[in-house]
């Protein structure tokens, strides 16, 4: 934005350079000797999975954290970025993954935050400056609207405009697309292009390959705190999309892996229904649809997918089956025995297991150690408790075994489970629910929010369960996921099953038609 960078946009000077930057947290090295140069006029993509160290890197650039070793250079001079306000004064503006707007204030008031406390907020002047910045970028900002009334995409635009109001030359967008609709993502991509054309530098952090390939001028790949590769603009331009994705995947995983490889577990022909649901009904509530006449069967070794747009009764179905939600009629049978009237514990003991999509709030107790979380649903039961007394030895032995079997990456079994990454929390849940006595399993969005390698591992685990002869009900909003592993796919729409499709060649299209209300 400043004249100087505009003049030299052709030579692309580095605004910020990182040299050997290292940051340690208790138990982990979040960033290990990172070298990075951020140039004006470029969208620099930082790509990496959950826990690769992207957020820590941003924290240091935006003044929230200080590096333990290495140096940060701004315009070629070494500089300690002491605080967020210092970062702003250096021209580094950040749009954080979790937005930094005060929901109870209006847009104008949010933009005015940061003025001297004795001054009156200069709303009139602000209105002019916002118009001057937003109009050329094609952004519309309603200054009078309360932030809590805006969509996430609109909130993000407000934050970008705020960064530009402070004369940022470097704009950092942290996981900016994670909460946007496809339309919003495309708009953000166009906006980033217009920003770099004006001479700004943009750092775009993402864990999605396709976005990196589509939006980036330069791509740096982080893995486990290290920078494992960089694709400079010249190289990036010479590759086509597919070759680029392949190259990035090779950097990220050191192996070629498609995310949605189709592998339907083989299944011995049998017609016995292991899990049977007849005319299940749940009353609707103020904020959730009810269920109406849901009937289906899942056989031994079968994976039945439940497809549908989120919020059409998936959670209600899962909770009604697990016994967590009162039903208004119908029955659930497991191997011919009715489960109606049994509570959560009773159904669990019969072999019906439910893996919630809400891993942190509902699935685990974040402050409890990993070891206790493994036996959370057996509290008070032998061998882990005897006569009401906790047998630490039994619990720890069990925890150590499950940690090994399910490849849970945790510093120790005494670590609070809330400190683990999403993928590892999911592994703890899977270990707890599936280690013993399983007959039928309900998975609700099992790979939601997981990075690629954990997603693949989870899918492999689900296939494994089915090939052992269990019944699997897989609820997912990711159609590719369902198509990659289900035998049959049912579509749920407004609390009813709209139809069931065998997973054959044209299944994707037929499920899609059912989802939008057409006959398959």
């Amino acid at each position: 934005m400043t004249e100087r960078t505009m003049d030299r946009a052709g030579t692309r000077p580095a605004i910020v350079t990182l040299e050997g930057v290292t940051k340690r947290f208790p138990g982990i090295v979040a960033n290990d000797r990172i070298d990075l140069a951020i140039h004006a006029g470029e969208v620099h993509v930082l790509l990496g999975e959950n826990g690769a160290g992207k957020s820590t890197l941003i924290g240091m650039l935006s003044g929230l954290q200080q590096p333990d070793a290495g140096r940060i250079l701004v315009d070629g001079a070494e500089m300690a970025i002491r605080s967020p306000s210092h970062a702003l004064s250096l021209g580094i503006g950040t749009v954080f993954q979790h937005n930094m707007l005060v929901p109870s204030l209006t847009v104008a008031e949010n933009l005015a935050l940061g003025g001297r406390w004795w001054q009156r907020p200069a709303i009139a002047e602000l209105t002019q400056r916002v118009a001057a910045i937003a109009a050329p970028l094609g952004i519309e900002i309603n200054l009078g609207a309360r932030v809590s009334e805006l969509s996430l995409g609109e909130q993000q635009q407000v934050e970008i405009v705020r960064a530009l109001l402070r004369d940022s030359r470097l704009l950092i967008l942290d996981e900016a697309t994670s909460m946007l609709t496809p339309q919003g993502i495309a708009e953000l991509g166009a906006l980033m292009r217009r920003l770099v054309e004006r001479g700004l530098a943009v750092v775009f952090i993402t864990h999605k390959l396709a976005e990196a390939a589509e939006f980036g001028d330069r791509v740096s790949v982080l893995k486990l705190g290290r920078k494992v590769g960089e694709i400079p603009p010249e190289r990036l331009r010479s590759l086509d999309q597919a070759a680029l994705v392949e190259e990035i995947v090779a950097m990220m995983f050191g192996r070629q892996a498609g995310s949605a490889a189709v592998m339907i577990p083989p299944r011995a022909a049998n017609d016995d229904a292991l899990l049977e649901v007849r005319d299940l009904a749940v009353a609707r509530t103020a904020d959730a649809p009810g269920l109406d006449a849901i009937s289906f069967t899942v056989g031994h070794g079968e994976i039945l997918g439940i497809a549908g747009i989120d919020g059409n009764g998936q959670k209600q179905l899962a909770e009604a089956l697990a016994g967590q939600r009162a039903t208004a009629g119908g029955s659930v049978l497991l191997a011919g025995e009715a489960l109606d009237g049994l509570d959560v514990g009773g159904r669990r003991r019969r072999g019906l297991r439910y893996l919630t999509d809400d891993r942190l709030a509902e699935g685990t107790v974040g402050t409890f150690p990993v070891s206790i979380n493994y036996v959370l649903k057996q509290i008070g039961e032998p061998p882990f408790w005897r006569s009401g007394v906790e047998r630490t030895g039994e619990i720890d032995a069990r925890a150590a075994e499950l940690t090994r079997l399910y490849d849970v990456r945790t510093p120790s079994i005494a670590t609070p489970v809330g400190r683990l990454s999403g993928g590892n929390i999911q592994k703890v849940l899977i270990a707890r629910e599936l280690a013993t006595g399983v007959r039928a399993v309900i998975f609700n969005k099992p790979t939601y929010g997981l990075d690629l390698s954990n997603t693949l591992a989870t899918r492999e685990r689900i296939r494994e369960i089915a090939s052992q002869g269990m019944a699997v009900l897989l609820i997912s909003t990711d159609l590719e996921e369902l198509l990659s592993m289900c035998h049959r796919i049912a579509v749920i729409s407004q609390g009813r099953l709209a139809g069931t499709v065998r997973n054959e060649d044209s299944a994707g299209e037929r499920v899609g038609r059912l989802m939008i209300g057409l006959a398959a």
């Binding site: 924290g59 935006s62 929230l64 954290q65 605080s83 967020p84 306000s85 702003l88 004064s89 950040t94 954080f96 930094m100 707007l101 005060v102 929901p103 109870s104 204030l105 008031e109 949010n110 005015a112 935050l113 940061g114 003025g115 001297r116 406390w117 004795w118 001054q119 009156r120 907020p121």
Partner: protein, 311 residues
């Protein structure tokens, strides 16, 4: 019982209501600022009793009510500074520290008073009133509402000052951001710890002033535990007011009215046990909480210490 209906009794009742409401108003306005900024200031009862004690001692030795108020406010600020250090800067639990400060200062002031005055309870002369011309001549309402110490009018004026601060100033925005989303304030370049510290110190000043008024004007003397929950009533008022200073004023007048009825009923010799009558203000608290408490909406980050970069 005839006395209950006479005009002079009614005037005394209203006068008492205002006198009882002022400490609650000051405490409520002070607490409101802390809560807006995200600090649940349970220590306000301790700040009030410190203000009551120092306010009384200040006025007693200097023989000036204004120096007394100044000393009271300073006492409140001193306790608030300790609270700000422990809860805002170091980030300790606000509830635990608040209770500790309250209990500690109740004991400390009682002890100091005992050392100084043993078992005697010296009184201050009656505070000078500043009647407002013309208005004070209205029958009943005049003597009830417009013949008070100057600080009463100042306290009521403070309500509108607070409204102006919250609605119109940068400071108001900063305070609200500190309570609703401190990280947003931090990345906007404003120091969250400083903003919250300032809010807590203001609470201390207001609570100290309220305590000094309670001792010097309301009672005319200091007795241990004189605040008797007034600070806690201030917390209730601030929570029910949902950030609006006018509601604090309204609530303070309602509770003040209850306290005044309590006194008046005893003076008038109503044949109800005193213990029951003294429960009235607290029953009013419970009734108001039942009626309005559900709708109380508090700042999102209330009670949570801010740590930069914490997830």
């Amino acid at each position: 019982m005839d006395g209950l209906l006479s005009t002079s009794f009614l005037a005394a009742l209203l006068f008492g209501a205002v006198t009882a409401a002022i400490p609650l108003l000051l405490a409520g306005l002070g607490e409101q600022m802390s809560e807006k900024a995200g600090v649940l200031n349970i220590g306000i009862e301790g700040m009030m009793i410190a203000g009551a004690y120092l306010g009384f001692v200040g006025a007693y030795y200097s023989e000036s009510f204004w120096l007394g108020f100044l000393a009271g406010a300073a006492g409140g600020v001193a306790v608030a500074a300790l609270m700000a250090l422990l809860c805002v800067r170091i980030g300790l639990n606000q509830i635990v520290i608040g209770i500790a400060l309250t209990l500690g200062l109740e004991g400390l002031t009682a002890l100091l008073h005992h050392f100084q005055f043993s078992r005697s309870y010296p009184r201050l002369p009656a505070a000078a009133v500043t009647p407002i011309p013309l208005l004070s001549d209205i029958p009943v309402l005049g003597p009830a509402l417009f013949r008070h110490h100057l600080i009463v009018y100042l306290a009521v004026a403070a309500v509108w000052v607070m409204i102006w601060v919250y609605r119109r100033t940068q400071l108001g925005l900063n305070l609200q951001a500190a309570g609703d989303k401190p990280a947003a304030l931090d990345v906007a370049g404003i120091d969250v710890v400083r903003t919250r510290t300032a809010a807590v110190l203001f609470t201390g000043a207001m609570a100290g002033l309220g305590g000094a008024y309670l001792a010097n004007v309301g009672a005319g003397l200091f007795i241990p535990f004189i605040t008797n929950g007034a600070g806690f009533l201030g917390i209730v008022l601030a929570m029910l007011a949902r950030g609006r200073p006018l509601w604090v004023l309204a609530g303070a007048l309602i509770f003040g009215g209850c306290l005044s009825v309590t006194t008046a009923a005893q003076v008038a010799g109503v044949n109800i046990p005193t213990d029951l009558i003294q429960m009235l203000p607290f029953l009013a608290v419970m009734a108001m909480l039942v009626l309005f408490g559900r709708r109380a909406s508090l700042p999102a980050a209330l009670g949570i210490p801010y740590e930069r970069g914490a997830r």
